[in-house]
């Protein structure tokens, strides 16, 4: 066995990547269609489905909170991981800076989401 092997911390990021990749593959297209096309333009779906009282109620519900957090945070952790690897693949070896920007923004977005969701109450 080779000596001086260092354990990789990749499992943390890889697990978040995998979860986000699966979630966005399953829910992504329909979510974009609902929130970005159908509801705002009253196409096929009721136009007031995203009215303030409805969305507030959704975000105050525990399942709703969990869903919103999972979508925003995991989508971003998934994207951060892929973008970080793509930079490496394009030959941009920004190293720690690239890592901080990619995973850092996913982390900040996660924290913001948690704070806002808690602030909205139950």
């Amino acid at each position: 066995m080779k000596s001086g092997l260092k354990r990789s911390n990749a499992p943390i990021f890889w697990s978040l990547f995998g979860a986000g990749g699966m979630l966005s593959a399953l829910f992504g297209p329909a979510l974009v269609f609902i929130t970005g096309i159908a509801v705002p333009f009253g196409f096929l779906l009721p136009a007031d489905a995203m009215s303030y009282p409805k969305m507030l109620a959704f975000a105050q519900n525990l399942i709703g909170k969990g869903f919103i957090l999972a979508v925003i945070a995991l989508f971003l952790w998934f994207a951060a991981h892929r973008i970080y690897h793509s930079l490496h693949e394009f030959g941009i070896h920004a190293g720690l800076a690239a890592k901080l920007i990619c995973y850092g923004s996913a982390f900040v977005a996660t924290v913001i989401s948690v704070v806002v969701l808690l602030g909205l109450g139950f």
């Binding site: 929130t35 509801v39 705002p40 333009f41 779906l45 489905a49 919103i68 994207a79 913001i112």
Partner: protein, 132 residues
Amino acid sequence: MSKRRPYVRSMEGWWKKNPYFVEYMIHESTALFVAGYAFVLLVGLIRLGQGEAAWNGWLEAMQSPLSLIFHLVFLVAIAYHTYTWFKIMPITMPPIIVGGKRVGPGVITGSGLLAAVGVSLVMLVLVFWFGG
């Protein structure tokens, strides 16, 4: 003295050299659109937290033609992510044995895509019923 002088070729532009790699880079780049969409939702969540006026402002922005164009692009890119995610699933998963036989790659990809269609339909029906 050794006459050896192994030549190491550059990796620059490697992904342009093979259609397989070009496709790989395209499906990897869908991550940019997943991130873009997640940021739109994040802004929406922040506006929701700021109250009704802020939320309505966000909703109004979502009704702009520019937003529609963006979301159409998100839709295409993320749908392609869905397709490629399940297409590579057979190589990323441990073998599944059913009735003593290994489940084929087509069945795995097909089941994944079917699950995505199912989840989408359920979400649409839920919004249709409870959103009115």
